[in-house]
Amino acid sequence: MQKRLLVKGNEAVAMGAIEAGCRFYFGYPITPQSDIPEYISREFPKVGGTFIQAESEIASINMLLGASACGQRAMTSSSSPGISLKQEGISYMAGSELPGLIVNIARSGPGLGGIDASQSDYFQAVKGGGHGGYHTIVLAPNSVQEMYDLTMLAFDLSDRYRVPAMLLGDSVLGQMKEALIPHPYVAPADLPAKDWAVSGKDGRAQRVVKSLYLGDGELEAHNWKLHRKYQELREREVRCETAGLDDAKLLVTAFGVTARIAKTAIRMAREEGLKVGLLRPITLFPFPDKAFADATAVAKRVLCFELNTGQMVEDVRLSVARDADVFFYGRPPGAGSLPTPEELLAQIRKHYKD
């Protein structure tokens, strides 16, 4: 029988990172993600890793930039207000084509907000977040197992495309415990060599990791190069979970923790005889736009469910078939605002048409 562990989502992230060969962690304490640095600070000494509790979120993202520039797998983790502080460094990493993992165990906002689960950082995560027009790869787990698996995948995708990756969880996913089946990490055989990393020139030509391009036409060419990588990600790396699309009259879409609530509500609706399907984006960038176009060739009504007042729904509207109707149900995050399956079932009934 496979080994099953009962662990927190935050611990699963740390375990996945260590298994994937990450040996550099830089972070700053913030609720509800502090289990990640706590776990790593305990386990890294056993595997020769470097853990630094930095003086700030800004310093930690820049330490990540430095370690990544040396070709090492490195990560930081934080929660919403801390992720805002890291945006400067994320923009520089994107501009410098540096891989690296940024984990956002999101909490509610704006400002200090609260510590409850939230999906109000969707825009920040998928539309760049910092200045300059870039993307990070954004993966949205919805279980403790996926917190582990997608952490490994994030490192692989980030290394392959030299695009920083973000794991977007929330305080429910980070804090809840459920079964995890750990498995050995196997590096993809075709990951490109990091022949751009600095190491001291030692007989070869100088290497420079930078985002400044002042020469005539240089920055435009650089941005086109980044754009081509984002297009490549859109073509090759989209991931989503679907269910019941064959006969669905209503498609429910949600990511992360709300997709768990949606799944229960869909099961309840199916028990009532309502033909309801699920499309759960796992990659938020690249967004599964083709999957939405395909699904809405059948299901002409879409209900988007989020723990905010409507963010992913904008990307859903841009992706669905032209004759599909998109409805939204969401609540701003905060204590007591996590909707129940019954609440969502009522929305399904409201928008369902045979």
């Binding site: 003086e55 800004i58 310093a59 330490m63 990540l64 430095g66 990544s68 040396c70 190491s199």
Partner: protein, 251 residues
């Protein structure tokens, strides 16, 4: 009798043979050369990773023939922390100006120093933001006129110039902290010695080393190079004394 001529002066190997973008009379070129000479002296060019900052020194990679990582404004000590931890056997230095290190980057420099990171920081203090056109810096002297202190720095409103070399010398994590100037031949020679001492501190694995270099910015000071150079001795050194404030590298 031997007729062989001995070469006593050459272009440093670590420095590219290119023209710089620096203004006439700017002393970044002199400081670059001293840093390159120290690199050559210890033979570390091939194992050096430089961390460039934001300001006039941003083109570090254009002048030094070494691997370079460019850091966001003020963050060079944090980037260098990541670099040094990932590559502990490499020689790692940052080269930062006064706006970068003593204003927007105070948190990063203090904590990198306090952790005793095994890096060397070259800090160029010219009492102004050079790259952006001569605004008031954290090191701008009282009453000094800049483009954002047009009536002179008013310490009641703007606070006081920060003496970084002394401040960092207070930290347990710092092994070496000194201030030098490059305004006279004697001071240039002394600056070269101090930079070598700071490099040796890192090479010997003895921790964090910091060298503040007083430097002229004739363009933004509105002076010709000779007057700007004279100002260093007349106005800067009295406020920013030249000294080694801490050296526990032999301990």
């Amino acid at each position: 009798m031997s007729s062989a001529l001995q070469q006593v002066f050459a272009h440093p190997v670590s420095l590219k043979d290119v023209q710089t973008h620096f203004c006439p009379g700017c002393q970044h070129g002199t400081i670059h050369r001293l840093v390159a000479e120290a690199m050559d002296h210890f033979g570390v060019q091939e194992k050096t990773i430089g961390v460039a900052s934001v300001g006039c020194s941003v083109f570090l990679y254009g002048y030094f023939d070494i691997d370079v990582v460019e850091a966001p404004h003020g963050r060079a000590p944090a980037v260098a922390t990541g670099v040094k931890r990932a590559c502990p056997d490499k020689f790692v230095f940052t080269y930062q100006g006064d706006g970068d290190l003593a204003a927007i980057g105070t948190s990063e420099i203090i904590h990198a120093a306090n952790r005793g990171e095994g890096m060397t920081v070259i800090f160029v203090n010219n009492t102004t933001y050079g790259m952006t056109g001569g605004q008031m810096a954290p090191t701008t002297l009282p009453s000094q006129k800049t483009s954002t202190s047009p009536y002179g720095r008013n310490v009641a409103n703007d606070g006081y110039p920060i003496r970084m070399a002394e401040l960092l010398a207070q930290l347990e994590g710092v092994t070496y902290s000194a201030r030098v100037a490059v305004n006279t031949p004697k001071n240039v020679v002394q600056a070269g010695r101090v930079i070598k001492q700071a490099f040796e501190t890192q090479i010997q694995g003895r921790g964090f080393s910091f060298v503040e270099v007083l430097s002229a910015c004739p363009t933004n000071w509105g002076m010709d190079p000779l007057k700007a150079n004279a100002r260093i001795g007349e106005e800067m050194i009295p406020y920013f004394p030249l000294a080694t404030f801490k050296d526990t590298s032999a301990a």
